[in-house]
């Protein structure tokens, strides 16, 4: 027999998002403030599902120009050569530097996409009130929270290259428009992960008990 779990919500309590103080829920929870730290209190993150969907879709849209448009342009001896994220990866595979190719591919292509896929999966499973492997789904959420920041690697690489390779007519590197879209994808996916409330994964449990 599985034990009956009691949540804060069952007791009419709200846990503060920033200082974790437990408070009695009032009739108008919308304008409730934490008595200890002053943060706005809500039982669950407000409009979590709608907000996360909106941000995930926005990130998916930006993901396309981020990968299609050039992220850097090298001007060397009067010739300009533009590189997208993938063409950079392919270049490194061809020159035999596969560890670097792997790092860029993981950070710039794989991680953002994985993060979006995980979030979409979590959103759909929460909306279907699934009670399937809740612990593993919470773990997936934790992964999306941790890995998102690592996508910034490419933005930093562009910054460093632009600053260093500035040798007049010999060679100059410019940042391309793809970098802006890519930066947007990273920032938007971080916000998307923040706006998702993992407690929604567990809310089905209580419905089953009732």
């Amino acid at each position: 027999m599985t034990p009956v779990f009691q949540t804060a919500r069952d007791y009419g309590l709200i846990s503060c998002h920033s200082c974790h103080l437990l408070c009695q829920s009032t009739k108008q929870p919308a304008d409730m403030q934490c008595p200890r730290c002053g943060a706005r209190m809500h039982d669950r993150k407000p409009n979590s599902i709608a907000r996360t969907w909106a941000l995930v879709l926005a990130a998916l849209i930006f993901y396309i120009p981020a990968n299609v448009l050039p992220i850097t342009t090298v001007i060397s001896l009067g010739k300009a050569q533009s590189d997208t994220i993938m063409s950079g990866v392919i270049y490194f595979i061809h020159t035999g530097m596969w560890p670097i190719a792997l790092v860029i591919f993981l950070a710039s292509v794989f991680i953002p996409l994985l993060k979006l896929i995980i979030l979409i999966f979590l959103l759909i499973s929460v909306q279907r009130k699934s009670s399937w492997r809740q612990q593993d789904r919470t773990r997936l959420y934790r992964i999306t929270e941790i890995i998102g920041r690592w996508s910034m690697v490419d933005i930093f690489v562009v910054t460093i290259l632009v600053a260093l390779v500035h040798l007049g007519g010999l060679a100059t590197i410019h940042a391309g428009p793809g970098a802006i879209f890519f930066g947007a994808v990273v920032v938007i996916t971080i916000f998307a992960a923040m706006s998702f409330d993992p407690r929604l994964i567990w809310d089905t449990e209580e419905i089953i008990h009732e």
């Binding site: 920033s18 974790h20 437990l22 670097i100 690697v153 933005i155 930093f156 910054t159 460093i160």
Partner: protein, 200 residues
């Protein structure tokens, strides 16, 4: 120090008793870390923040990488790199890099000084709740360790093209990453909230 808290990831109610040194309390349903006992949290965090500030100033005062092609040498600091992006019309990216590698880490240290220095001397900073909440909100945007990987990738990218000269501040950057993460890990927000509640 026993208290009742709800798991921040699944809302389950827990009764937490005093933890043994370095002990961890995990949620029995979803496994989230509810609370960690951190020995000498106040002093350690303060020490790390001070070390981080020194390293931060060093890291940003000197070039971290140089590039040599023929007789030409070009060196860059973090700030000149960001400025270069800005001039090229990539203002959005320049601001993003400035925030994640300069402003957020620096603000984190300043917030910690504001909170911890008075607490260490038995006083209570007036705006503690606001500053601590602000500190927790900006935490995800400090990306120093990611920047370090960025340096590594750039070095490998450029190695075929020219001679790379590691700058003086590269080593400060390297140390800064470890000190910054130690600073974040050693902070026990739970303890500070409790102190705030007792003294108020």
């Amino acid at each position: 120090m026993s208290s009742i808290i709800a798991c921040h990831e699944c809302d389950l109610i827990h009764h937490i008793k005093t933890l043994p040194p370095k002990g961890t309390a995990n949620c029995i349903r979803c496994g989230a870390v509810l609370h960690k006992h951190k020995p000498n949290s106040l002093e350690r965090t303060l020490a790390f923040a001070l070390a981080a500030l020194i390293l931060f100033i060093l890291a940003n005062s000197f070039p971290f990488l140089g590039l040599k092609i023929g007789a030409q040498v070009r060196e860059t600091t973090l700030i000149t790199g960001i400025y270069e992006l800005y001039v090229q019309g990539m203002q959005v990216i320049a601001i993003l890099v400035l925030l994640t590698t300069v402003l957020v880490p620096f603000t984190q240290m300043m917030c910690l000084f504001y909170i911890l220095l008075p607490l260490k001397f038995g006083r209570l900073p007036k705006r503690l709740p606001w500053v601590l909440r602000f500190l927790q909100a900006i935490q995800p945007w400090g990306m120093m360790e990611v920047f370090m990987v960025g340096i590594l990738v750039s070095v490998v990218k450029l190695a075929k093209m020219a001679k790379i000269i590691p700058g003086i501040s590269l080593y400060s950057f390297l140390a800064l990453i470890f000190v910054l993460s130690a600073m974040t890990v050693s902070l026990d927000a739970h303890l500070i909230w409790q102190k705030w509640e007792e003294h108020r």
